[in-house]
C-alpha cells in the first residue's frame, strides 16, 4: 500500500459493520426442487423418527442417564463408543468427499441451518409476501397490518421452533411421556430447559441470524474451502459468455451490439440467501445453494438464450473450456478416489463389525489387594470380579468357564442370570492345586469364557484374558 505523502484526509472507519438484512427472493427450479426434497426428507426423519416404535419401545432413544442408546434392534452401551467414533469418521470423510467433488453440497441442501431457514422463509413469504413486499413492509410506518403480519409470522415461527425443540428432547426421553407432560405442564426442569433452548436456537438461527450463522459462526464453512481444488464443482458465473452485461430489448441482436448474455437483471443477487453477487466469482459467503442458477435459468428462458450462464462448473472447465463429459470425468481424480476407497473401507468394516457384534460384554477385574490366598486342601485361590453386561433385551443365562492352567476350576456356581439390557457384577474364585501341578510362584495367563446358555442363546460367547497368581 503506497500512500507516501498523498494523505489528504482521514476518516473514522468502523471495524464492525451494521448487518445489512438480506431479503432472499423465492425461486423455483431444478435445484430448488432438490433442496425442498431434502427439506422433506430430513424433516420427516427428524420429526417422525422419534415417534417410531420397535418391540414395544421407542425405536430411536438416547437415554443419557441410563447410558443406553436404542437404535431400532440395537442397544448401544458406553463400551460401544467406538461406533460413535466410526460414525463421526464416516460423516467427516463423506464431507471431505462431497466437498472435493461438488463444493458445499452439505451447506446448500442438507445443513439444518439451510433447511430451517428455507422453512422459515417459506412461512415468511406466506405471511408477508415475497422479497419486494417484505422490503416495503419493513420500511413502512407502523400500522395495524404490519403488526398483525409480523406477529402472525413470529407466532408460526415460535410454534415451529417449539415443536422442533420438543422433538429434539423426544430423542432423549420417551417422546410419548414427554408429550403428556407437556400437555399437563409437568415437564422436568431439564426437559423444559432443553425444549426452550433448542426452540430458541431454531427460532433465532432460522428466523433472525440466517446467513450470519454461515458467515461468522460456522467453523465448517471456513475449513471446507481447504478441500476445494481446481476440479471441484462450484457455482460459477461464466463471464466470457455473460460479459459485457447490460439491459437490452428482447428482440434485438445483442451480440451484434457487443453485449454478453447477462441482462444484468439482478435476479441472481435477489435470490441469494447470503446476499452476494455470484458474478464477482467464488466467495466465502457462498453456501452453494444454487438458487442463483435457478433464478438465472428462468431469465435465460425468457430471453431465449441457453441455460447455464450461471452453472455448476469447475475452475478447470472454465479455463480450458472442457465439455460436461470431460468435466465429470475429472470427478474420478486421485483425491476423490482415495476418499471413496477409505470411506467404502470404513463403511464396510463398520457394517461387518455391527453385524458380528456380540450382545454380551464381559470385563474381568482381578482383585488387587488380595493377591493369592491358600484355602483348605492346599489350593491357591485368586478372586476376580466379572462384570457381565447383557445387551439383549431379554433375560439371559450365562455359563462361565476358565482355561489356561491344568485343573484350574471355579469354586462355587459358574452360572449367572442377567436381566434384559442390564449388567451384573459377579465375584468369582478360581482355584488350582499349585503343588500338585508343579506351579512355581508367578503370574499365569488364563482365559475366561462366558457363554450364553438356554433357548435361543445361539453362539453368543465372549473370551476375556486375565492372570492367575501363584505365590
Amino acid at each position: 500500500m503506497n500512500i507516501g505523502n498523498h494523505v489528504v484526509e482521514s476518516a473514522e472507519q468502523s471495524l464492525y459493520e451494521v448487518r445489512q438484512k438480506v431479503y432472499p427472493r423465492a425461486v423455483r427450479g431444478w435445484f430448488a426442487a432438490w433442496r425442498w426434497a431434502l427439506v422433506w426428507a430430513t424433516q420427516l426423519v427428524f420429526y417422525g423418527g422419534a415417534w417410531l416404535t420397535w418391540n414395544g419401545r421407542q425405536a430411536l432413544l438416547f437415554e443419557i442417564a441410563q447410558r443406553k442408546f436404542y437404535i431400532f434392534g440395537l442397544v448401544f452401551w458406553p463400551q460401544d463408543i467406538i461406533y460413535l467414533t466410526v460414525l463421526l469418521v464416516i460423516a467427516a470423510l463423506s464431507l471431505f468427499l462431497f466437498t472435493a467433488i461438488a463444493g458445499r453440497l452439505w451447506c446448500g441442501y442438507a445443513c439444518p441451518q439451510t433447511v430451517y431457514t428455507e422453512i422459515f422463509l417459506w412461512v415468511e413469504k406466506l405471511i408477508e409476501g415475497d422479497r419486494t413486499k417484505r422490503i416495503r413492509l419493513d420500511r413502512s410506518a407502523l400500522s395495524l397490518e404490519k403488526v398483525l403480519r409480523k406477529s402472525a409470522k413470529h407466532a408460526v415461527w415460535i410454534a415451529l421452533a417449539l415443536w422442533t425443540g420438543f422433538t429434539f428432547v423426544g430423542y432423549f426421553t420417551p417422546i410419548r411421556d414427554l408429550w403428556r407432560e407437556v400437555w399437563s405442564a409437568s415437564t422436568g426442569p431439564w426437559a423444559t430447559f432443553w425444549i426452550l433452548f433448542y426452540g430458541f436456537a431454531t427460532y433465532g438461527n432460522a428466523g433472525w441470524m440466517r446467513e450470519q450463522v454461515c458467515k461468522y459462526m460456522c467453523p465448517y464453512a471456513r475449513f471446507q474451502s481447504a478441500m476445494f481444488d481446481r476440479d471441484t464443482l462450484i457455482i460459477t458465473y461464466d463471464p466470457e459468455r455473460g460479459e459485457p452485461r447490460g439491459p437490452r430489448a428482447r428482440n434485438i441482436d445483442f451480440r451484434a451490439r457487443g453485449l454478453g448474455d447477462c441482462v444484468d437483471c439482478g435476479i441472481c443477487v435477489q435470490v441469494c440467501p447470503t446476499g452476494i453477487d455470484i458474478r464477482k466469482g467464488l466467495q466465502y459467503e457462498c453456501i452453494g445453494c444454487a438458487a442463483c442458477i435457478d433464478g438465472c435459468n428462468q431469465v435465460m428462458d425468457k430471453m431465449g438464450t441457453p441455460h447455464g450462464l450461471i452453472r455448476y462448473s469447475t475452475e478447470h472447465a472454465l479455463e480450458n473450456k472442457l465439455d460436461r463429459a470431460q468435466m465429470f470425468r475429472r470427478v474420478f481424480r486421485p483425491r476423490s478416489l482415495i476418499y471413496m476407497a477409505i470411506l467404502a473401507g470404513i463403511v464396510v468394516a463398520a457394517g461387518v463389525s455391527l453385524a458380528l457384534r456380540v450382545p454380551l460384554k464381559v470385563d474381568v477385574i482381578r482383585d488387587r489387594a488380595a493377591i493369592a490366598r491358600e484355602v483348605a486342601g492346599g489350593e491357591i485361590e485368586n478372586v476376580y470380579r466379572l462384570q457381565i453386561i447383557n445387551t439383549t433385551e431379554q433375560s439371559q443365562h450365562y455359563e462361565i468357564s476358565v482355561s489356561g492352567l491344568h485343573e484350574i476350576h471355579i469354586a462355587g456356581p459358574a452360572e449367572v442370570e442377567v436381566g434384559p439390557a442390564s449388567s451384573r457384577v459377579l465375584p468369582l474364585e478360581l482355584r488350582v492345586h499349585a503343588e500338585r501341578e508343579h506351579l512355581t510362584p508367578g503370574a499365569y495367563r488364563i482365559e475366561f469364557e462366558v457363554r450364553a446358555i438356554g433357548e435361543g442363546a445361539g453362539k453368543v460367547k465372549v473370551e476375556e484374558k486375565s492372570v492367575f497368581i501363584v505365590r
Binding site: M1, A11, Y216, D367, Y384, L428
Partner: protein, 299 residues
C-alpha cells in the same frame, strides 16, 4: 504464609481483576474504530512482505456486542459469586455449600431406596435378592479392597464367608462392627519372652490345632500360655469375641499358621484395624451391608 493473612492481598487481587475487566472494555472501544487515510478504506492498513495488504472484512456489529456482554457478565458474576479477594458474593455460594446441597439432593433421591429396607431385620434381608443386590454393590465399593470381592478376605483381613468370627457373627454384632469399626491388638511378646520363649509358645499354639510340633517346646509353651496368653485367648484357647482375640484351636488363621508366621505374630504383635463406617455410609446402608455380610456365611 504470613503474606496471605494480610488483607492487602485480597485487595490486590480484587484490583487486578477489576482493572483487567474494565481494560478489556476500554480496549474493545478503542479498537472498534480507527482513523484511516482517505481513499484507502478497503484494507486494514497492515502490510506484509512489501505489498501484501489485508482486506477489511469487518465483523458484524452484533458480534461486538457479544464482547461487551461478556464484560457485563463478568462484572455481574463478580458481584454475585466469590471472585474478588475475600468478597463472598451476594448469592452466598461456596464449594462446600454446593457439595452439601448435592449430598442432600442425593440423599433425598436415594434415601428412600435404602429406608425401604431399614425396617426389616438382617436375617430376613439376607434372603431378599433386592437387598442383596444393593448390599453387594456397597460391599464391592467399600469393603472388597480389604476383604476381597467374594468376602473371602486376605492376609490380615478376616474371611467373612465362613462361620468363624473374631467379634461374633450375630446380625447386630456385624452391624456394630461396621458402624464403629474394630481395633484388634495383639501385643508384641518378643522382648518379654525372648526368641526361645516365643518359639516354645509358637509350638504350643501349633499343637492346639493338631499341627506337628516339638513336644518339649509344647510343654514349655503351655506354661507360658497359662501365664500370659490365657488372659485374652482363654483357658481353652477358644479366643474371646469381646476382645476380638482369635480362636487358636481351629485351622483358620488370620495371618497364617506356619511356624515362622506364628513366631512373627507372637514376637512383634499384630494390629488389626477395621475402620468405622458410620460417618461415611450412615445407618441405612450399613444395615444393608450387614445383611449382605451375614448372607455370605448363611447361603
Amino acid at each position: 504464609m504470613s503474606q496471605f493473612s494480610s488483607s492487602f492481598w485480597d485487595f490486590y487481587i480484587a484490583v487486578i481483576t477489576l482493572v483487567s475487566v474494565v481494560a478489556c472494555g476500554v480496549f474493545l472501544k478503542m479498537q472498534s474504530v480507527r482513523k484511516v487515510a482517505g481513499g484507502t478504506t478497503e484494507t486494514t492498513g497492515h502490510t506484509w512482505d512489501e505489498d501484501l495488504g489485508e482486506y477489511n472484512n469487518p465483523l458484524p456489529r452484533w458480534w461486538m456486542w457479544l464482547f461487551y456482554i461478556t464484560i457485563v457478565f463478568s462484572l455481574v458474576y463478580l458481584v454475585l459469586y466469590p471472585g474478588l479477594g475475600s468478597w463472598k458474593g451476594l448469592l452466598g455460594w461456596s464449594e462446600v455449600g454446593q457439595l452439601k446441597q448435592e449430598n442432600a439432593r442425593a440423599e433425598a433421591l436415594y434415601g428412600p431406596i435404602y429406608d425401604k429396607f431399614a425396617a426389616q431385620d438382617v436375617v430376613a434381608l439376607a434372603k431378599s435378592p433386592d437387598a442383596l443386590a444393593i448390599g453387594q454393590k456397597l460391599f464391592l465399593n467399600n469393603c472388597a479392597q480389604c476383604h476381597a470381592s467374594d468376602g473371602g478376605g486376605s492376609r490380615g483381613f478376616p474371611n467373612l464367608t465362613d462361620n468363624d468370627w473374631l467379634y461374633g457373627g450375630a446380625p447386630t454384632t456385624i452391624e456394630q462392627t461396621i458402624t464403629n469399626g474394630r481395633n484388634g491388638v495383639m501385643p508384641p511378646w518378643g522382648p518379654v519372652l525372648g526368641a526361645e520363649g516365643v518359639k516354645d509358645v509358637a509350638h504350643y499354639v501349633m499343637s492346639l490345632s493338631g499341627g506337628a510340633a516339638d513336644s518339649i517346646r509344647v510343654a514349655r509353651g503351655r506354661e507360658t500360655y497359662a501365664k500370659i496368653c490365657i488372659a485374652c485367648h482363654g483357658p481353652e484357647a477358644k479366643g474371646n469375641p469381646a476382645l476380638g482375640a482369635p480362636n487358636l484351636g481351629d485351622k483358620t488363621w488370620l495371618y497364617g499358621g506356619g511356624e515362622p508366621t506364628i513366631v512373627e505374630t507372637v514376637t512383634k504383635g499384630r494390629n488389626g484395624h477395621m475402620p468405622a463406617w458410620k460417618d461415611i455410609l450412615g445407618p441405612a446402608k450399613i444395615h444393608l451391608l450387614a445383611a449382605y455380610v451375614y448372607s455370605l456365611s448363611h447361603r
